[in-house]
């Protein structure tokens, strides 16, 4: 017996884009299976929704800047998605967070104005839609900030963060506290679990309160709870009698894990299936369509058959796009055509490490509705799309959410058209 399962839609990838697309499809009553090699980028990213941070100068009003980008760069994913759908998708996302498993937790902001948030090293980072627990960090407001760190949380250096903020012209200082007396080190995740405990949190607040000066805001690493971040954050603000905010840490990212849990819960609530640990290892294509994919499983692979697919497997970072030693760029998941490579004869890489690499815009070639070239029933979303340089533009989650949303729209309208015919 060959292992085979049928769904209305199969989504490849469980990062933000895949989970958004899968959830949106499942919400319409479609049977959906999200298939992923492993957990995606959510656990590594800061958990903010950066729509457009640099273009190339720092962006104040992301809505307006995206409009200009769309006009100037027709090959950019945003140009295919459109400003209206981007706004719609962000509102949809914010609703899912508000209705999600984390009571009271919400995202604030939108396309009107970027927040200006400090990073763990004290750089400033523009972001459009952010967890409420980070919004208080906005550096454009006048209050001085006190960054709180601990030796036990490696990779978060409060003094460095405060010093760099100071150099950028913001009033900032740092204090060190022992989060946990009985341990030499702890991960951000371990600390987040501690913060979920009310008694532990009260003791922490009592330890921190005397170190603070009047009128200061408090910046903590993003460890304010996993199961009830809204409760943890509000409780700390109340106990300390001042604004408290989170600063994203190096991975693991607690706000990113929350985002994953919100989207996972939304998918499951609508009956979507999530299969982790199953890499797509084969694809059946016929007549310009994808018929089925093979998901690697223990013992034997499983054939997932569907009329519609979403490819949200990521880009170079996830291994879904590869430049092999033969100097040919490939989509390693479905073998679809790619676009965005530098023209022949042009350099693919430049020597400056931190500058934009010519190869960075490569992705799976799509039409104006995000359908893959050569496979009309495959919609592409997220970092798999060509034309963007998310780490430089600060546009990763904005593209992920809006393209995941748009990919679902495309498949839904195609399915509706098919049903009508």
């Amino acid at each position: 017996m060959k292992s085979e399962l049928h769904f209305d839609a199969v989504v490849i990838g469980a990062g933000t884009a895949g989970l958004v697309a899968g959830t949106r499809l499942a919400e319409t009553g479609a049977s959906v299976c999200v298939l992923a090699k492993g957990v995606g980028s959510t656990h590594l990213a800061p958990g903010t929704v950066d729509v457009l941070g640099y273009a190339p100068e720092r962006v104040e009003e992301p809505g307006r800047a995206v409009g200009e980008l769309i006009a100037a760069r027709p090959d950019h994913p945003y140009a295919l998605i459109g400003l209206e759908a981007i706004g719609e998708s962000l509102a949809w996302f914010a609703e899912r967070v508000a209705d999600g498993p984390l009571p009271g937790y919400r995202y604030v902001g939108g396309l009107e104005r970027n927040h200006l948030l400090p990073t763990a090293v004290g750089a400033v980072r523009p972001s459009a839609l952010v967890p409420e627990t980070m919004a208080g960090a906005d550096l454009r407001s006048g209050d001085a900030v006190c960054i709180v760190g601990s030796r036990m949380l490696r990779d978060f250096h409060a003094a460095l963060c405060a010093a760099n903020l100071g150099k950028a012209g913001f009033e900032a200082r740092s204090v060190e506290v022992a989060f946990e007396a009985d341990r030499a080190d702890q991960s951000s995740l371990g600390l987040a679990r501690r913060f979920d405990d009310a008694a532990w949190r009260a003791a922490f607040a009592a330890q921190l309160a005397p170190l603070l000066k009047p009128g200061e805001r408090v910046g903590l690493p993003a460890v304010l709870g996993l199961t009830d971040p809204h409760g943890v954050w509000s409780d700390l603000e109340q106990r300390l009698g001042r604004q408290v905010f989170e600063i994203p840490t190096l991975p693991p990212s607690v706000p990113g894990i929350r985002l994953f849990e919100v989207l996972r819960a939304a998918l499951r609530r609508n009956g979507g299936r999530l299969v982790l640990g199953s890499e797509v290892v084969g694809a059946d294509r016929a007549d310009g369509r994808l018929v089925a994919v093979s998901g690697h499983a223990s013992g034997r692979d499983v054939r997932y058959v569907a009329p519609s697919f979403v490819l949200a497997s990521g880009g170079f970072a996830s291994g879904a796009i590869e430049l092999a030693s033969d100097w040919i760029t490939r989509d390693t998941v479905l073998g679809l055509a790619v676009r965005g490579e530098p023209p022949r004869g042009e350099p693919r890489f430049v020597n400056e490490y931190l500058t934009e690499q010519p190869m960075a815009r490569v992705g799976v070639a799509v039409d104006s509705r995000l359908r893959a070239e050569g496979a009309e029933n495959v919609a592409v979303a997220g970092a798999t799309l060509p034309g963007a340089v998310p780490w430089r533009e600060l546009s990763g989650e904005g593209i992920a959410i809006s393209s995941g949303f748009r990919a679902a729209s495309t498949l839904l309208s195609t399915a509706a058209a098919g049903a009508a015919a």
Binding site: L5, G38, G40, P251, P252, S278
Partner: protein
């Protein structure tokens, strides 16, 4: 010649498994999911003990790094790794190296032998069960054997499933299916096997129950690889005799044992070359996985009567190691009236024999805490779970009855009375 090629291929595959560590980008996703390192500093986490420490485990040279013994072998790290690093498998092999160097405690030689224990305990079940519940006996067992006095100990059923199965004949429908029942069903919960048989026969299968034994998973997870190989290959030979063609299905209800046959024995014990094991592993199904696939093909009977109950469902780590999602939930959705809360906490903590061990019992209970709390919060009266040792741990941790998902199908089919 072909034997040499097989050995060479086997070596290559083993090297491929170890070589997967080069794909580790230190993203820490495994660390966020590891049930053990999230509750104890004794295990520094899958990334540290796996891809990082492995670089220092050169051939059989000595290493002071022994924290990997605290890995419970649940396999979640491998499941969630976005880069395809075989973290749990690398760690299992590292545990074996520690055991080879430092020796194997007597306890690990005993509790990893469900067949010996079952054969000893079954004829004297009332006495054995009484002893397992007597405090002085458990304290003695803790002192002598280092098995924690409070660890969940299942009761011997006093009868063996295979005796029941071999006394009866499955109706001859011509559609044969091979049933691998495992040791839990054989010695502790024979009624689960009877339900599996009833459900399969209800769906038109002729159930064949070969003479069989342990799959070797307890030995493997305690690092006793040589013994585990002997045991699993003996089982593979026994099952392979019943494989006639590509359509032969071998089905099991012990989800950790079916994943052992499917993949872990081949990868962790480096038995990729064994033809019988290969033949078997490609045909093994977990019962819920099989029933969902039958349903997809329109071949599952759906004459389910309503069950107006509210239950919690925990997918055990080993079930997740099949990499097919959570088929039990799809089956529950077919039963009218059944309200199911999916638990999202990762692990119950027991990990087979891990939580029985004196030095690991407290860790296993700490691991299980978030699941126990979630079950309590759900308000569900019963907990469905695909693995027997996990069910015993869940009952131990929540004082709730815990049964295999197929129990609800059995009832909904009206096969229970």
């Amino acid at each position: 010649m072909s034997a040499d090629v097989d050995i060479l291929q086997n070596l290559l595959r083993a090297e491929e498994l170890r070589g997967s560590l080069d794909h580790c980008v230190k993203c820490t996703i495994c660390e966020t999911q590891c049930p053990v390192s999230n509750v104890t500093p004794l295990f520094p986490g899958p990334k540290y003990a796996g891809p990082q420490a492995e670089r220092y485990r050169v051939f059989d040279e000595p290493t002071d790094e022994s924290s990997v013994d605290y890995c419970s072998g649940c396999g979640i790290c491998t499941q969630v790794c976005p880069q395809g690093v075989k973290i749990a498998e690398i760690n299992a092999q590292a545990r074996n190296k520690i055991k080879r160097r430092h020796g194997v405690p007597l306890r690990d030689r005993i509790i990893t032998r469900p067949t010996w224990l079952g054969r000893l305990g079954t004829p004297v079940a009332p006495l054995a069960n009484l002893s397992l519940r007597l405090r002085p006996f458990r304290i003695l067992a803790e002192k002598v054997l280092k098995v924690h006095r409070d660890a969940p100990a299942p009761a011997f059923a006093g009868r063996r499933f295979s005796r029941w199965a071999h006394k009866r004949t499955s109706p001859k429908t011509g559609r044969k299916i091979v049933y691998f029942h495992g040791c839990g069903t054989e010695y502790y919960e024979p009624w689960e096997g009877e339900k599996v048989v009833a459900i399969l026969e209800h769906n038109g299968f002729e159930v064949v129950v070969p003479k069989q034994d342990c799959c070797g998973l307890p030995l493997q997870s305690s690092g006793l690889f040589d013994d585990a190989r002997k045991v699993v290959l003996r089982l593979a030979r026994a099952l392979a005799q019943h494989v006639h063609d590509d359509d032969t299905i071998i089905v099991g209800n012990a989800t950790s044992c079916t994943v052992m046959l499917k993949r872990e024995a081949r990868e962790i014990l480096a038995l990729e070359h064994d033809p019988d094991l290969k033949l078997v592993s490609e045909r093994v199904y977990d019962i819920c996985e099989l029933l969902v696939e039958l349903h997809d093909r329109g071949e599952l009977k759906t004459d389910f009567k309503p069950i107006e109950e509210h239950i919690a469902y925990h997918a055990p780590c080993q079930q997740q190691g099949h990499w097919v999602g959570k088929p039990a939930l799809d089956l529950f959705a077919l039963i009218p009236g059944l309200q199911v809360d999916e638990m999202t906490a990762r692990c119950c903590g027991i990990a087979g024999t891990y939580g029985l061990k004196l030095e690991k019992y407290a860790i296993s209970m700490d691991v299980g805490r978030s699941l126990f709390d979630q079950i309590d919060a759900s308000g569900a009266a019963e907990v469905a779970c695909d693995s027997e040792t996990c069910r015993w741990q869940i009952t131990h941790g929540t004082k709730r009855k815990s049964v295999h998902p197929i129990d609800y199908l059995h009832r909904a089919y009206g096969l229970d009375g």
